[in-house]
């Protein structure tokens, strides 16, 4: 039976029942009953084999081994294991479903938008000999200022 993976994981044990909203800034392992909502935006939420959740779940990653009734939204991945049961709609970037899992609902894959790559640093050009192009003084100052900001 999977156990919470690290010390930085909050755990709802199998003898616990919660009605309401859960918001956490660390990983969460639910092996009890939850009704309401579960949010852990940058972290992982795991519904253990004894977990029975009637709640919408929003997290970075959601792993389901128990029963969930509600919509699941994961910015990274949803992982539905064998013998898990999920009734609800999934929105995620990636999904994994093992044979034997029961799923009823829709799957919408939203590819994570690539983070804008850092603008490449302008190549430092070898100093060229100044070209004797006659330009107005104001314009020259403006150009030099913009280059300096980079």
């Amino acid at each position: 039976m999977p156990e919470p993976e690290s010390r930085n994981t909050a755990t709802i044990g199998k003898a616990v029942k919660i009605n309401g909203q859960i918001f956490t800034k660390e990983d969460l392992y639910v092996d009890g009953d939850v009704e309401g909502t579960i949010e852990s935006h940058d972290n992982k939420v795991t519904i253990g084999p004894n977990g029975r959740v009637q709640a919408g779940i929003r997290a970075r990653e959601v792993v389901i081994l128990g029963q969930v009734q509600g919509n699941v939204e994961a910015s990274d991945k949803v992982d539905i294991r064998k013998d898990a049961k999920l009734v609800g709609d999934i929105t995620t970037s990636r999904i994994s479903i093992e044979d034997g899992a029961l799923f009823k609902g829709s799957i919408d894959i939203k590819k994570a938008e690539p983070k804008p790559a850092a603008a490449p640093a302008p190549a430092v050009a070898a100093p060229r000999p100044a070209e004797p192009i006659p330009v107005p003084a104001a314009s020259t100052a403006s150009t030099a200022g913009a280059a300096g900001k980079r």
Partner: protein, 230 residues
């Protein structure tokens, strides 16, 4: 005192009698039984090819897949850019009606089945992969399901369904279908179950009478592939 073994036989018989397990309309085996084959076969499908040909070059469609959630089908459909609506309709049939095909005439249960499996706004789907699920429905349930599908599908959209091509078979294997590519699928036999009725081309045209067109592909493995245009 009856020996325990004998008593258990009587108990089983009386249980099946009380549950109303009867022979289906076709007069075949009353209940489903496990498959003897546990092999998975890769198979080309003209129906599947036609289905994906019809939705080619379009992304963002809503596709209903009644085969139950599988990694292969989800990957294939979402990689084409579609949204997948997934459910295991054979399992839902068992949950709603139990093992007895006679229960499929119960109006209340039919309504419950439709409510729990096809509760979507009209015009939700741009395509439907029904696989072989319809052939295990009795006439009343089948007509109600097809009627509901007609409501749920967009005009000009397509559905794909498979039926046993044997006109006399009272039972047929149900399968798990996994998409390999746009014309190949993996088929695994799940179990053998009574067919709801006999399906020949004429019957199928009647079943889908409200739809715009019905196209048949006969295949080698006693399977009739049907592409229906809404």
């Amino acid at each position: 005192m009856l020996p325990e073994k004998l008593r258990s036989i009587f108990r089983r018989e009386s249980e099946s009698a009380s549950s109303g397990a009867s022979r289906p309309a076709g007069g075949g085996s009353p209940l489903r039984r496990p498959s003897k084959k546990e092999v998975t076969v890769a198979r080309q499908s003209r129906g599947l090819e036609q289905f994906f040909f019809n939705v080619r070059d379009i992304v963002g469609l809503s596709i209903l897949d009644l085969a139950g959630a599988s990694q292969e089908n989800i990957n294939f459909l979402t990689n084409l850019g579609h949204k997948v609506y997934s459910q295991d309709i054979i399992r839902s049939l068992d949950e709603a009606f139990g093992p007895d095909p006679a229960e499929q005439t119960n109006v209340g249960r039919i309504e419950y089945f439709l409510r729990t499996n096809f509760d979507y706004p009209p015009g939700t789907f741009d395509g439907a992969l029904l696989w072989d699920s319809l052939q295990f429905m009795g006439p009343a349930l089948l007509n109600a399901t097809v009627e509901r599908l007609h409501e749920l599908m967009q005009p000009k959209s397509y559905l794909l369904a498979f039926f046993s091509s044997s006109d006399r078979a009272a039972e047929a294997p149900s399968h798990i279908f996994r998409i390999v590519d746009n014309k190949t699928m993996l088929i695994t036999e799940r179990d053998i179950r009574p067919t709801g009725q006999v399906f020949n081309n004429r019957n199928l045209e009647k079943v889908f009478a409200k739809f715009e067109s019905v196209k048949f592909f006969l295949t080698r493995e006693s399977l009739r592939e049907v592409i229906v245009r809404r």
